[in-house]
Symmetry: C2
Subunit: 458 residues, 2 copies
């Protein structure tokens, strides 16, 4: 009966919970842009204050970058560590937003009400589902369900540079929990909750190809001077073969074929590739030949151009022959692919491809291997049952195309297993203009966590 | 003796002439950027006022874009039309300038004093060499050497969109002259003046490749969604074969091998390809295999990437899978290459190369064929002799890699032949940061025009 009371409390408190989320989203905590450093601090302070309002003595602990918010409450087993991130992605191209990304609002859509703005889906609204579940639990019971450690990061969207040093420095404190809960993933579809048990890794690289030592007039020098934009285009074009496979030597070392039982489970999900691609204006899976779209995004590695720039990019025309051409390139990794070996091989491949008179510089934008979760632990099945009670369809163990390096770091540095439960939808527009989070995800997400807390502490 | 008096007058007036040029360069008349429209008007008004100060009643005549400055003075044959442009290139990347581009100054360099800023070489200082020669002539003689029409354009750096309508509307007025003089080219080297008798044409294209209908998270969609930056890179990489030839179908129609007599004349010039490339940090001609650097820049057509952009290009990293990828691409044309046929073929080639789910949009940034001058007219030899009198070495007929479509338009629309004489140097940094114009070019340039005016009116 007490679970019912917590769920009712969540229902009754929804408007206040939304107000809290709105004030959180209003803080433009863009971690990758130094111009927003103070806003990241404000977001950390907001978290500390919000946790304090429900009785958690948390702190915003300084790092070399943005602060870590850490707090401990409660007694008893299991000891759960809850992780989320309070930073958000940049908002550009800002002109494609139909409202100020940091002036969020509830909007009606064909799929119901949504919270529109930068960050409610990734990850402010998601992390608040857990916080709101805890708040309701405490209000109803006057006590916490078990021992809980809160850990909120402010650099997830910028490669988490401070995380490894922070985990190392606070290893004793943070390795005490039995299990980490991470709310930064999505449901399988609007009816089917999911626990993500496979996550792709991420390797981020930036390269700058330099040809002439200054920008040149393409009339005076065109034809005789090497053009680094052309060189970069050739390099990028060479990164995939005509079947969509990545050509970096050794790239597929550690990539296994999907086990038959996983493939069978995924087949049962009835993934609608046409709808998935159709939601973003596409019709055909564009990855490796002969792989389904689901396999391409959950179980296959990729190489993508995330940004490219060279020469004159403003209005009008400028007949410049550029001195430099740059690209940001990322690799999604699966299985036991070694990001450091791939970085080395990629850099060697690019360097070897340079024509005379060109040089290249590389910048490291983070490297994390793929994660595979320990689904044999009973807590996974307990959580799956609890989620199935809340939503119309049975919860599924799924893969995830994105990279949440924290799960790998928890395992590697703290020997801490992670369970990833989230309530995002495919159309949330993560990292895109007009990001939103379904109000239903926020509300039923909080209810879901209450059920999970109940199930794992019963 | 009267020529000597004009030359002396130019020498004595140099400081005042420099002051005039400085105040002209201080006007940021960047024609391609709408933010500087008022500055383009100011530059036109400055020209009108400067011409008025020497007794030329000129007007800044409105067009759909920036004004045309037109004025007529003098009597007698030949009737010369003098053309220059008062607009300048954008200044980005601004961080590479060592001073404010619109706060020009005289600086000492290893090759003597230079005027540093945006525009003294292209084309404000160059056009003022002619104006200063006329001013001195008038001051000494109290009359003009012949009938002169001044025509100064403000859109040369942005494709001259208003020029064709203006020439059409004012055809009767502007086709009266016997010959056009254009000062927007360079010397062969610091000692050797030059008349440019071959100019490459220019075709400017912008393309935007669209894949997904919005920017995507590369984790959620990477592997399954087409990436337009990769598509664009493949298209650009396909525009040249491995010998450096352009692959656009029909591109070389109208491109002839250099006649033996021209090749012999150019060989005699002793062009130092190592020094030319070395001045911009390069060592090897990067164009078509088996062609000299001089041939590559004067006599061979090219295809260059002038700008490319897609996705996230700011600091840090953003794992976006972009919706769009754009490029500005230009073709330098020679002989009788047809820019309109090449545009059509290029667009068809790009469209045919698109994978499923991608679309492309094109933007036209101007098209002009190559120009070949009528060097058999006696005025060319008269001018060549006059230039040879002013400079240490004999003047040469040379080619030009850049594109000055005005010469072709004068011929086509006004049946007016052009003679291109300029005093720029290879290291002027046209279109680049830290553009400069040699003080010697400015001074001896004005003296050169006085000699040319004397020679052709004697």
């Amino acid at each position: 009966m007490s679970l019912e009371a917590v769920l009712t409390r969540i229902d009754d408190d929804l408007d206040a919970a939304l107000e809290r989320l709105m004030s959180f989203v209003r803080i433009p905590s863009i971690s990758t842009d130094p111009a927003y450093a103070k806003d990241c601090q404000r977001a950390a302070d907001w978290m500390v204050a919000d946790l304090a309002s429900m009785g958690v003595e948390a702190e915003a602990r300084p790092t070399q970058g943005h602060p870590m918010v850490v707090g401990h409450v409660g007694e008893g087993a299991p000891h759960l560590l809850f992780y989320g991130h309070y930073d958000v992605q940049p908002v550009d191209p800002i002109e494609l937003w139909h409202r100020d990304p940091f002036d969020p609002a509830i909007e009606d859509t064909e799929h119901g009400k949504v919270i529109r703005g930068r960050g409610p889906a990734d990850d402010k609204g998601q992390l608040m589902t857990f916080v709101e579940a805890c708040r309701a639990w405490k209000a109803v019971h006057g006590a916490w369900p078990c021992k809980i450690t809160f850990l909120f990061e402010g650099e997830e969207e910028s490669g988490s540079p401070s995380l490894i040093p922070f985990l190392a420095t606070n290893k004793e404190e943070l390795s005490a929990p039995d299990m980490a809960l991470i709310c930064d993933t999505g449901m399988f579809d609007r009816e089917t909750p999911a626990i993500c048990t496979m996550l792709r890794g991420l390797l981020g690289e930036e390269l700058v190809v330099t040809g002439p030592d200054k920008d040149l007039h393409s009339g005076s020098f065109g034809g005789a001077a090497i053009n680094p934009a052309r060189v970069l285009a050739r390099i990028i074009a060479s990164l995939h073969d005509n079947t969509g496979r990545v050509t970096v030597p050794g790239f597929y070392d550690g990539v296994s074929e999907l086990p038959d039982e996983i493939r069978a489970q995924w087949d049962k999900l009835g993934f609608d590739a046409d709808a998935f691609l159709g939601s973003v204006g596409l019709s055909k899976p564009a990855g490796e030949d002969g792989r389904s779209a689901l396999e391409q995004i959950w179980a296959r590695p990729t190489c993508e151009v995330n940004g490219i720039w060279s020469g004159y990019t403003g209005d009008g025309f400028k007949t410049v022959l550029p001195s430099k051409a740059s690209a940001k390139i990322s690799f999604r990794l699966v299985g036991t692919q070694d990001p450091f070996a791939i970085r080395k091989s990629f850099r060697a491949m690019v360097s070897d491809a340079l024509p005379p008179d060109c040089t290249v510089e590389f910048k490291d934008h983070g490297a994390g291997p793929a994660s595979v979760m320990s689904t044999e632990r009973p807590i996974f099945e307990q959580a799956r049952a609890a989620l199935s009670d809340e939503w119309p369809k049975e919860a599924a163990f799924i893969g995830g195309g994105g990279s949440i390096p924290i799960a790998g770091l928890f395992k590697e540095m703290l020997e801490l297993d992670s369970m990833l439960i989230g309530f995002g939808q495919d159309d949330d527009g993560l990292h895109s203009p007009n990001e939103k989070y379904d109000l239903r995800s926020f509300h039923k997400g909080a209810r879901s966590w209450a059920r999970v807390l109940d199930a794992v502490t019963r």
